[in-house]
Amino acid sequence: MTVQQWTFLFVACTFGLYLFVAWRARVRDTGGFYVAGRGVPAIANGIATAADWMSAASFLSMAGIISFLGYAGGVYLMGWTGGFVLLALLLAPYLRKFGHFTVPDFVGDRFESQLARLVALLCALFVSFTYVAGQMRGVGIVFARFLEVDVTVGVMIGMAIVFVYATLGGMKGITYTQVAQYWVLIVAFLIPVVAISWQLTGQPVPQLGMGSELTSSGQRLLTTLNQIHSDLGFTSYTEPFTGSWDKVNVFCTALALMAGTAGLPHVIVRFYTVKNVQAARWSGFWAIFFIAILYLTAPATAAFSRYYVFESLHGKTEQQLPEWFRTWEKTGLVVWLDDGDGEVAYHGEAQADKNEVFRKGSLGAAEFSKIRAQHFEWLSSGGAAGEDCRPALREQGLGGPDRDIMVLAMPEMAGLAAWIIALVAAGGLAAALSTASGLLLVISSSVVHDFYYRMIRPTASDRQRLRLSRIAIGVAVVIAGLFGIYPPGFVAQVVAFAFGLAASSFFPVLVLGIFSVRVGTVPAVLGMVSGIGFTATYILSTVFFGGERWCFGIGPQGIGAVGMAVNFVVAGVLTPLCRGPSEAAREMVAQIRAPEGEDPPPPVAGH
């Protein structure tokens, strides 16, 4: 069987499984729809949280990013998992005790302000849509490459599946589908890397294989990588603080990702689905345990795929080029523009003029094929016609393969069996769909619960809200699908924005709301507004208007850390000057701090 047939088989089987699970878990009330009736066992919730958490970015992109950045890629590992520690220790148990449906709900009730609720709501929507756009790109890549269907068709199939199981089962259906998706994605991630580790180093545990000697040369893998990197003009793989990743930026980016991760609404809402506070803590542990299985393996995947890229490309002639290169070349995610010597040369920043390996980046398909056609004309005419297009691509920073292909291409690079390659594709889809469904639920509950029910029509009945929630998911699915079919060229920058916003708004306001009984409405709202205002202005001016990085040279990815500090400082300075929270809000804080006790009654109209 070919890779494509295997992929069809796996994708059909896993999609069938997800629909079956969702059908078994369908629900009929808002409690079940939003928080799965609060009856999910801690370990199942932990697995579902892990699947929800690990997006297409974790599965497809992260190992690729580490592969290209080396040491600096660690900020994503530390940032995303470190944020989980903040979430599990500082937020999850208390928000579970609070016991309502959403994050804006907590912000609005604790700080007794509809404005605070609205700001939190808008942030939740922005973060969620940004995230969904990324998932849809992942779905598009997998479909385009492995099933060779049009991206549009691929995205529509994916969206239809998510729509069916999200509207059918709500949070309950999503939770149990995510449990199934976790196992698909983790098996798909582990099998190839274990096989490759064995093949390269004779060590089946990839985490140890990464530090072992290569059986071919007897030299350590990481030492070999550092040597190749310095020979070909790349910055060192293991040395910290090279290039634009200086100490300040690594530090701030790690911190911003941590705080931003802790404030992601679709992950926080997961802790509302368990029985009690105790179960929320244990489900936090199980989630990080299952997340760590993938996150501790990703650095090994990164190092192995880095090694294979050089092994299979550099110095090869047209005839020697591997099969994986030919198949990925069709997508434009990697391309070879020769200088005329007939040998592939892949070089880094320091020897960029010699580099011949490029990628499409955010260029349009038509523009990119024109560039390639011109270059081939230049090549075949011996420089008489056409144009050498390498300098232009170099200037746009498009040297080297696209990082998103590394995880998907690695099994092919290592020459693994066709079914393993297909399995990885199914795993990528599982990662993208599980996160997308969680996000769609957050979007729908934000709009229907926080906006319609709590702000517009508090008298809406349970049945009305349930129906509206299903409609809202449908609308959100369509919008997300459009993002997938017409991806905005700036997805990467917008993701930095999402984390920056979550770090500078949600995280401080939630921590203050739980750990301080003195912070009242005005300091909280002004803190949140100034944190977001600072972060948004800085990112907009540096990314979109080419402004200077005036704040210690910190890049847009790390500025959320400063925005968070601004939020804390503003709230802290204003607190002694403004009116504290009311008796009711203090009572609420005391309540969420106590480990025992009943769930509060459902929110009362006109509160």
């Binding site: 580490i66 040491y71 890629g73 660690g74 900020v75 590992l77 530390m78 998992t81 470190g82 989980f84 520690v85 903040l86 599990a88 220790l89 500082l90 148990p93 985490q207 140890l208 990464m210 530090g211 072992s212 000697e213 350590r220 893998l221 990481l222 293991t238 040395e239 910290p240 603080f241 100490k247 690594v250 530090f251 790690a254 911190l255 941590m258 506070v277 105790q278 803590r281 244990w282 936090g284 542990f285 990080i288 345990f289 760590a292 996150y295 501790l296 650095p299 750990f515 009984v517 203090r586 009572e587 005391a590 701090r593 106590a594 480990p595 025992e596």
Partner: protein, 99 residues
């Protein structure tokens, strides 16, 4: 909030203070392994080798995550114990009240 002279409220406050102390000490370790060993000291630690990798690099890509898992495990266990302690203290008070 009820006054601290109320013994039940006092028990809750003691529980809260222990909770905050535990969370803070775990967060100190959290910052030390990730932002400390993984970032601020990474260049210094890279002089040493651990499991075939430079130590600073290893902390950033493996060590920090391993410690994170253990931190949340310790938190879940210790908080469970603190909760039970509060429960028995409250039960004690109730029995005292009946006498």
């Amino acid at each position: 909030m009820p006054s601290a002279s109320d013994p039940i409220a006092a028990a809750h406050q003691r529980h809260w203070r222990r909770n905050v102390r535990l969370s803070l000490s775990l967060l100190v370790i959290w910052a030390a392994v990730s932002l400390g060993c993984g970032v601020l000291l990474a260049d210094v630690l890279n002089a040493y080798t651990f499991l075939g990798a430079p130590l600073g690099f290893w902390f950033a890509q493996q060590g920090a995550v391993i410690v994170f898992v253990l931190l949340i495990l310790v938190y879940a266990i210790r908080m469970g114990r603190l909760d039970r302690r509060l429960k028995s203290e409250l039960a004690e008070l109730e029995r005292g009240g009946e006498r």
